[in-house]
């Protein structure tokens, strides 16, 4: 196993949790302040990509296998579309968030945005990580021992 890059490894271990927490903050605070699903998804993915870069691809893939990442991408889209379908079955137009709180439509709008942005976040996380996997999984020209 590799024993160099000690500082990098320690700092990464410290940072990963914070990055994930920050991603969740951006995700769920998105409807009041700058942010939302897209940014949160990228930040969330960064946590895993950083871990993968420092601790090798295999380690991060043990946490998040490629097949899970693929499902995440599709799941996010389903959450988004599902929100719309739910409002549709409640008797409103597709993606009309007013359906979720007929007496107080602006609350419904908040809930709807929250659900939809969560879908966006899940998909963006999946896409970002799978792009990283796709590139990182190629055989490296210089292996790690050569450094």
């Amino acid at each position: 196993m590799m024993h160099h890059h000690l500082i990098l490894r320690v700092v990464t271990k410290l940072l990963v949790g914070t990055i994930i927490l920050f991603a969740l903050y951006v995700q769920f605070h998105g409807d009041f302040s700058p942010g939302g699903g897209f940014q949160a998804g990228v930040i969330m993915a960064v946590a895993f990509i950083l871990y993968g870069i420092v601790f090798r691809l295999e380690k991060v893939q043990r946490v998040l296998p490629p097949w899970v990442v693929h499902k995440l991408m599709a799941l996010g889209v389903l959450i988004y579309a599902g929100t719309g379908i739910l409002s549709f079955f409640l008797g409103y137009n597709y993606l009309d968030y007013g359906a979720f709180s007929p007496d107080h439509p602006s609350h419904g709008q908040h809930w709807g945005i929250l659900a939809v942005e969560f879908g966006v976040g899940v998909t963006v996380t999946g896409v970002m990580i799978s792009i990283y996997y796709a590139f990182a999984a190629r055989t490296p020209l210089i292996d790690d021992e050569a450094w």
Partner: protein, 529 residues
Amino acid sequence: MATETGTAQEVVHQAAALADHLPMLVVLVPFVAAPLVVVLGSRGLAWWLAFVASVVSTVIAAALLARVFDGSVISYAIGGWAPPLGIEYRIDAANAFVLLLVAGISTVILPYAKVSVAAEVPKKNHTLFYAAYLLCFTGLLGVTATGDAFNVFVFLEISSLSTYVLVAQGSYRDKRAFTAAYDYLIMGTIGATFFVIGIGFLYMATGTLNMADIADRIAEQGSNRTVRAAFAFIVVGMGLKAAVYPLHLWLPGAYTRAPSAITAFLAGTATKVAIYVLLRFFFSVFQPGFTFTVNTLEIIVIPLAILAMFAASFIAIFQNDFKRMLAYSSIAQIGYILLGVGLLTATGLTAGIAHLFNHGITKATLFMGVGAIVLRVGGSWYDRIDGLGRTMPWTSAAIVLGGLSLIGVPGTAGFISKWLLVQAALEKGWWPIALLVVASSLLAVVYVWRVVEALYLRVPQGRAAEATDPPLMMLIPLGLAALACIWFGFDTRVTIGASQMAAEGLLAGSAGMLDSVGASSALPLGAGH
């Protein structure tokens, strides 16, 4: 996405019947099926989901066409936000007809694709293959259904990106599919970029993205340099996507190297949808009365269309590969469609739209025939298809029927639209153009004859001698498509009826803003006039 909901009057919430949701459902059903295929991850279910979604979309498209056949317009406000603020789906005769074409071809091709794809694409890719197919299908339907200019771009990208993936899937049979897909990616991206630049200019000039609203604003302020630049960018961008003659370079490679079922699907739908968008912008957004629309059509589109009819047909004659020949013939046929549009008369436009439909089914038939040959013989070069008329009689018969329709022999779908085109040219007194249409059809006779000669007048050798007709799963869709080429040559109620209605609607210019389902009261800042 920090959305302030504002006052309650801005958002209109109104329960509606299922029938009112059809404009959205036609796009939504395949769109939801695509991620579902990936989440379920089951190879067997993938095809079934795709097929069911496609059938449902076809039924909805037919219902929509029935509802707008009398010239009415349906508007649907996504999210209950009234247009022009919200995204509007707007169905009239023109796009309901194209929706039916896209969904119908997909439904016919999917059973065929099951066998064909199994033979050409490795098993591990099948799940994602059908997911990509559904996304491509969704994108094409979305481009057609939406009334929002930016939404067109979004759906265009959905369909394009998945198309590049699907074309590259041909690489298991022929590595050149990679370069073909890459070419298409570069050209398609340039096209989409130009298109979105055009939309940007329009937004700058009008401050709105709703097509009907843009049309209203342009009509108010008249043309200026920004609007003209937008027009130029949009025409070139969509021209690339539609493979209008000098912008066609991506098409032969992509069609030749893609898996057979995908070629059949794309040939019948993708370029047709791009042409529909061109029509929509020519006539509904930039009104037909605008001098630059008229000038572009007469000075640029008509000469290019005629050039396409001849140049691409000539190239088609000298091809050695059946599939590649058909690809060049597609470019020529796009010329006929645009010629009809360029004539700027009701008959011409009817001919163009009818040819869009008729050529769609004709090319789908022929490319499905090629796919059946590829399945049995392993290639579509002319020397490999020698004598297949004897060993694959049904497939060859379907190819001949498709070929006749391609030429425009009386009694086939191709004849109806070409006849209308000649009529339209004569109506305008442009008899040289009518002669050119007939002359270029003679070129089609030459390239179709080369195929017939190979199929029937030569002796089968090698794999061709042992070939048999493909399984029924492929043969029945192929036969249905071939019969459709004949059927629409006799029964023109749907094709000509819908095309006429679409042409009238388009020539009348924009219908302006409408009240939409679930958004019946006007917005305070809406430009609904």
